[in-house]
C-alpha cells in the first residue's frame, strides 16, 4: 500500500527508472496540474527514435547537489531549497538568457518565451512540502517515476539506487536517484550508454524463419 502522505521523519526520495517508461504522457499531463506552475508542463518526455523503437525518455529535474544551471545563471536567479530541491528561476530576477537551458547536463530547464522566464521542475514543492508525492510520480502507471521511502522501494522493486552521473569528465551528484542493476559499477556514464539492448530482430526477418 502506497503511503498517501509522508510525515516529517519519513524522508521520501524521488526515483527515476527511464527504462520502464511506456510513453503514455500521464506525467506530462499531470505536470501542468502542479500548483507552482499551473498550466505549464515542465517535465520532458520524448520518443528517442520512433522509427526504430517505442522507447521514450522521461526527464524530471534531477536536482543536482551543485547545480550547473545555477552556477551559469548571470542573474543569480536559481536557488536551492534547504532540502536540495533546485527551484525554477526566481521570477523577479530571471532575465531569460537561457544559459541554464543550454548548460544543464540533463537537458531540464525550459525557457518559456511568453513569460520571458526559465521554468523547471521543482519536484512539486507545493506537494512535497506537505508530504504528498509530486504529480508525475503520483500518476506514473509504470513507476518509471516513483516517490517514496527507500524502505518502500526495496520492499517491492529490484535494482539499486544511484545518485552519481558522469558527463565526460564531469561527475554530478543528484538528489533524484536512478535505478541500476549493479550499484558497484559506479555512477552512470552518460556517454557510454548509446548501445541499444534492443529486442533482437523482433519479427525474425533475419533468420528466414518467418
Amino acid at each position: 500500500m502506497k503511503t498517501a502522505r509522508y510525515g516529517i521523519d519519513d524522508r521520501p526520495i524521488f526515483v527515476i527508472d527511464q527504462s520502464r517508461c511506456i510513453g503514455c504522457e500521464a506525467c506530462v499531463q499531470a505536470c501542468s496540474e502542479c500548483g507552482t506552475h499551473r498550466g505549464q508542463s515542465l517535465i520532458h518526455l520524448e520518443r528517442i527514435d520512433r522509427a526504430a523503437s517505442t522507447q521514450t525518455a522521461p526527464m524530471v529535474c534531477m536536482h543536482c547537489e551543485d547545480p550547473t544551471c545555477a552556477e551559469v545563471c548571470p542573474a543569480d536567479a536559481i536557488k536551492q531549497n534547504e532540502d536540495g530541491v533546485v527551484q525554477s528561476a526566481l521570477k523577479p530576477r530571471c532575465i531569460g538568457c537561457s544559459n541554464c537551458v543550454l548548460a544543464c547536463p540533463f537537458g531540464v530547464p525550459k525557457y518559456v518565451a511568453d513569460f520571458d522566464q526559465m521554468m523547471k521542475c521543482d519536484m512539486c514543492t507545493d506537494r512535497t512540502s506537505e508530504g504528498y508525492a509530486p504529480m508525475c510520480a503520483s500518476v506514473c502507471p509504470s513507476e518509471a517515476l516513483w516517490y517514496g521511502t527507500p524502505e518502500e522501494f526495496h520492499a517491492h522493486r529490484r535494482g539499486s539506487l544511484v545518485d552519481g552521473w558522469l558527463f565526460g569528465r564531469q561527475a554530478v551528484t543528484t538528489k533524484v536517484f536512478a535505478v541500476v542493476d549493479d550499484v558497484a559499477a559506479g555512477p552512470i556514464d552518460v556517454l557510454s550508454g548509446e548501445e541499444r539492448g534492443w529486442l533482437d530482430d523482433p519479427f525474425a526477418l533475419e533468420d528466414g524463419a518467418r
Binding site: 501542468s32 498550466g39 523482433p202 533468420d207
Partner: protein, 730 residues
C-alpha cells in the same frame, strides 16, 4: 429519414468537437475548492480511483486518490485530463429536435415537447411495424444501475426484443469463452494476483496504451523475477522490454495457442492431477491440437517455431502464471475460439483458482464488466441470466412484478440491428452512449443504415457522430453528474459519486428513461426514489444468478473500497479470486476444455488486397473519441490517425515517413499520413480507430462477426496501400 440535417462543417461549428484547454476560470484562477469527491475515472475498465475537485458546481481539477487500492493514485493521461470533459463548451444543455433551418441543424425545445415526440414516434412505429421494429442501443459507459434500468426499460416499457449494447464490440468474445469453459463471465482474478505470477503472458493487449495502470502490476511480477511474454503484431511499448516476443500475424492467434498446447502435451508440461480432478474434455482439445506443431503454426502465425517452443516451456514449467488477453484476440470472427484456446492453456497447466494463476480478459470499456451482467445485452437478463431459459425469465419477472410472458425473447445483436435497420426491418431507434458511426465495423454501411431510420432519438451529453442523425436529442448526464456503481475489470463493484449536478436543462439518464416509461403508460415499473433503490432492485434481480450481487450495498461498496462479486448473501465477504480449489461455475464444478481447430480470418490477403490491416487504440484517446477528442491536452498528444507500417513495406511502395497514403479495403478507403516504424510486422499496417468520417479506420473493417459472440472482426482485414493520389500496385 434520419439524415444529417446540415453540413458537417456547420455541425462541427455548433457542436464541436471543440477543445477544452483549461479548467473553468483558466489556469490562473485561484478558486476555492468547495469539496473533493472520491470517484473513478470513466475512461476504461480499470476504473481507477480519482478525486475530483469541485467549485461552484463545476469540476475544476483532480487529486490522486492514493488510498484506493487498485491504482493507488496512478492515472493515465486520460484520467489526468478527464475532469476537463465537464464545463465543456460542447456540452448539450437543452433538448433539441432536428431543424435544418436552425444553426447547427437542431432547434432547442422543451422537455415536454421532446419527450412527447419520442413517445408518439415509438407508438406510431410499433403500431405500424410491430414492437420489435423499434430498437434500442445502449453503452457500457453507463453505471450498473443504468445498465439494469435500460434492460428493464427496453423489455417492459418499449417491449422490444431488439436491445443490444456497445460491449458487443468489446467484451462479448471473452464473455462467451469464459461462460463456455469456466461457467461464468468474470475475470477470474483480482489484479493483485498478477504480481504473484512467475510468467505473465499478454496476448493481443497493448497494455501500456490501453490499460496503462496494469503495467505497474506486471512490473511488480517482474521485480520478483517473472518472465514476460508479449504476443502482438506490433512491438507495443510493453513488448520493448519483454523476455519473449511473439510477433503474431493478425487473426492467427488460435493457431499459436494450439501449437503451445501441442508442445505442452508433447513435453508433458501438464498438470494431470488438475486436469483429472477439475476438468472435462481434455482429450478433445488434445486431439484437435495433435497436428498443430510449432512448425505448422510458424507458417500461419509468422512466429518462429523456436519462440513457440520457448513460450510453451515458460508457461508449462512455471509454477504460477497469468495470461492477460484483450481485444487483439477477441475482436475476430473466431474471438470466442481464441479465448477458449487460451483457457485451454490455463487448464492444461492447472493455472486457475490459485494465487498468481489465471487466464483473464482485460475489460476495455468503463463499465464493460458490470455493463455485461445486468441485462442490456440482447440475450441476457439481470444477474447474467439467459433470456431464453424459462427459469431465468421467471426469476426476473417475479422481481419486476410482471408475468414472464411480458418479457420479450432474445433480440438481435448490435451489428445485426444495424443490418436490420439497413434492410428496413427496424424503423425506429433510441440510443444512449453508443456511437456506431465511429465504432461499428464498416461505418459507411452504418451511416447508410442510420439515414434510413424513420425515427431516431438519442440520449447523450455531447452530440456524437451518430447523434447527428437524430430527430430528437435528449441531454443526459456525464459520469460525474450522477451517482451509482460500476464493476471494474477485476470484478470489483465500486461506487461512482456525483461531483456536480447536470448543467442547464440536462437531466440524469435514469430520470429521462423513467419519464419516457411513464409517458408510455408503463410508469408503475419505473418509479424510483433514488439510484440506490435501482441498485437494491438490481441486487434482488441478480440473486441466484451467476453475477450475484445479493449482499452488496452502496454503503459496503464505499466503505470497503469495492466488493468483488459474487456476493451471494448478506454479509458475504465477496469473491476476489474465482474457482478456488478448482471449483468451476458448472453444476459438476468442472471446467470444460474445448477443441479449437484453426480457421482463417473472414477475409484473407490476396493479390488485390495484399496487406493485413489491424486496428486499435492510442493511449490518449478513448473509444469513439466523443469525450476525449474534446480535451486539448489529449488531442495534442496524438492529433490524428496515422498508418503505421514497416520500412520494408514502405520501401516496396515508395512511401516515406509522413507521406499521405491511401489505404483501401473492399468496404472503403482512408487517406492519412504514414508512420514508418520498425515496430510492426512488415506484412501488416495498423490504424487507430478513434476518429469519425473520413478519418475513420472502420471505413475499412469488415462486417463479419463471430458466430458465437457476434463480435465483429475489427482486428483483421485485407487492404492495399499506396501513396495518396497513386494507384495501388498489388
Amino acid at each position: 429519414m434520419a439524415r444529417i440535417p446540415v453540413t458537417e462543417e456547420a455541425l462541427v461549428e455548433r457542436f464541436g468537437p471543440h477543445l477544452n484547454e483549461a479548467p473553468p476560470g483558466g489556469w490562473d484562477a485561484d478558486l476555492e475548492i468547495d469539496r473533493v469527491v472520491d470517484t473513478h475515472c470513466c475512461f476504461c475498465g480499470q476504473q481507477c480511483g480519482i478525486k475530483l475537485k469541485v467549485h461552484d458546481n463545476e469540476v475544476v481539477g483532480f487529486e490522486p486518490w492514493y488510498e484506493f487500492p487498485f491504482n493507488e493514485g496512478k492515472l493515465c493521461p486520460k484520467g489526468v485530463k478527464r475532469y476537463l470533459q465537464g464545463s465543456h463548451p460542447d456540452r448539450l444543455l437543452h433538448p433539441m429536435v432536428r431543424d435544418k433551418g436552425s444553426p447547427g441543424g437542431f432547434r432547442q425545445v422543451g422537455w415536454d415537447d421532446a419527450l412527447a415526440r419520442v413517445v408518439s414516434e415509438i407508438q406510431r412505429i410499433q403500431a405500424t411495424y410491430g414492437d420489435d421494429a423499434f430498437a434500442m442501443l445502449s453503452g457500457v459507459s453507463l453505471t450498473n444501475e443504468k445498465s439494469y434500468l435500460v434492460g428493464k426499460f427496453a423489455r417492459l416499457a418499449l417491449h422490444t426484443a431488439n436491445l443490444d449494447y456497445n460491449g458487443r464490440f468489446c467484451m462479448v468474445s471473452a464473455g462467451a469463452g469464459n461462460k463456455k469453459a469456466l461457467g461464468m463471465d468474470r475475470a477470474p482474478n483480482p489484479w493483485s494476483d498478477i504480481p504473484l505470477a512467475d510468467v505473465v503472458w499478454t496476448a493481443g493487449t497493448n497494455v501500456a496504451e490501453t490499460f496503462p495502470i496494469t503495467t505497474s502490476y506486471i512490473w511488480r511480477a517482474r521485480d520478483r523475477g517473472a518472465k514476460l511474454i508479449v504476443q502482438d503484431p506490433r512491438v507495443v511499448p510493453l513488448a520493448r522490454t519483454a523476455d519473449l516476443f511473439l510477433p503474431v500475424r493478425p487473426g492467427t492467434d488460435s493457431a499459436l495457442f494450439g501449437a503451445v498446447l501441442h508442445e505442452l502435451i508433447r513435453n508433458d508440461w501438464l498438470d494431470h492431477e488438475f486436469i483429472d480432478a477439475h476438468t472435462v474434455d481434455f482429450d478433445q482439445a488434445a486431439a484437435a491440437a495433435a497436428d498443430m506443431t510449432p512448425a505448422w503454426a510458424a507458417e500461419i502465425t509468422g512466429v518462429p517455431a523456436a519462440r513457440i517452443g520457448e513460450a510453451a516451456e515458460l508457461w508449462g514449467t512455471s509454477a504460477t502464471g497469468m495470461m492477460l488477453h484483450a481485444r487483439g484476440i477477441e475482436q475476430q470472427v473466431k474471438g470466442t475460439e481464441n479465448v477458449l484456446a487460451a483457457i485451454n492453456l490455463g487448464l492444461a497447466t492447472g493455472k486457475f483458482g490459485k494465487p498468481g494463476c489465471g487466464v483473464s480478459t482485460i475489460t476495455g470499456q468503463g463499465n464493460g464488466q458490470g455493463g455485461r451482467e445486468h441485462g442490456h445485452k440482447c440475450d441476457q437478463l439481470p444477474g447474467n441470466r439467459d433470456i431464453t431459459v424459462p427459469e431465468h425469465r421467471e426469476a426476473v419477472a417475479k422481481v419486476w412484478g410482471v408475468d414472464e410472458s411480458e418479457i420479450p425473447g432474445k433480440g438481435l445483436p448490435a451489428v445485426a440491428i444495424i443490418e436490420a435497420i439497413h434492410a428496413g426491418e427496424i424503423k425506429g431507434l433510441l440510443s444512449i452512449c453508443f456511437n456506431p458511426a465511429v465504432s461499428a465495423p464498416d461505418v459507411n454501411f452504418t451511416r447508410e443504415a442510420l439515414d434510413k431510420l424513420e425515427f431516431y432519438a438519442t440520449i447523450d451529453f455531447f452530440l456524437s457522430d451518430t447523434g447527428r442523425h437524430a430527430d430528437v436529442v435528449l441531454p443526459g448526464s456525464l459520469h460525474e453528474e450522477d451517482e451509482g456503481t460500476s464493476t471494474s475489470g477485476e470484478g470489483r463493484i465500486i461506487k461512482i459519486n456525483a461531483a456536480v449536478d447536470p448543467p442547464g436543462e440536462a437531466r440524469r439518464d435514469g430520470e429521462i428513461l423513467c419519464d419516457i416509461a411513464e409517458r408510455l403508460g408503463r410508469g408503475e415499473h419505473f418509479r424510483y426514489g433514488s439510484n440506490e433503490e435501482i441498485f437494491d432492485e438490481l441486487c434482488r434481480a441478480s440473486s441466484g444468478g451467476k453475477a450475484d450481487y445479493t449482499g452488496a450495498t452502496w454503503d459496503r461498496i464505499e466503505s470497503e473500497m469495492g466488493l468483488f462479486w459474487p456476493v451471494p448473501e448478506v454479509g458475504h465477504p465477496g469473491t476476489p479470486r474465482l474457482y478456488e480449489g478448482g471449483q468451476f461455475a458448472f453444476p459438476d464444478g468442472k471446467a470444460r476444455f474445448h477443441a479449437v481447430p484453426y480457421r482463417p480470418p473472414a477475409e484473407v490477403v490476396d493479390d488485390d488486397y495484399p496487406i493485413w490491416l489491424t486496428s486499435g487504440r492510442v493511449v490518449s484517446q478513448y473509444l469513439s473519441g466523443t469525450q476525449t477528442r474534446r480535451i486539448a491536452g489529449l488531442v495534442d498528444q496524438y492529433p490524428e490517425p496515422l498508418c503505421e507500417m514497416h520500412p520494408r513495406l514502405a520501401d516496396s511502395l515508395g512511401i516515406k515517413n509522413g507521406d499521405q497514403v491511401t489505404v483501401t479495403s473492399r468496404r472503403g478507403e482512408i487517406t492519412l499520413p504514414a508512420a514508418v516504424v520498425t515496430t510492426i510486422r512488415p506484412d501488416t499496417v495498423f490504424i487507430p480507430y478513434h476518429w469519425p468520417g473520413k478519418k475513420a479506420a472502420n471505413q475499412l473493417t469488415i462486417r463479419a462477426v463471430d458466430p458465437v459472440s457476434a463480435m465483429p472482426e475489427f482486428k483483421v482485414a485485407a487492404v492495399k496501400v499506396a501513396r495518396a493520389g497513386e494507384r495501388a500496385h498489388p
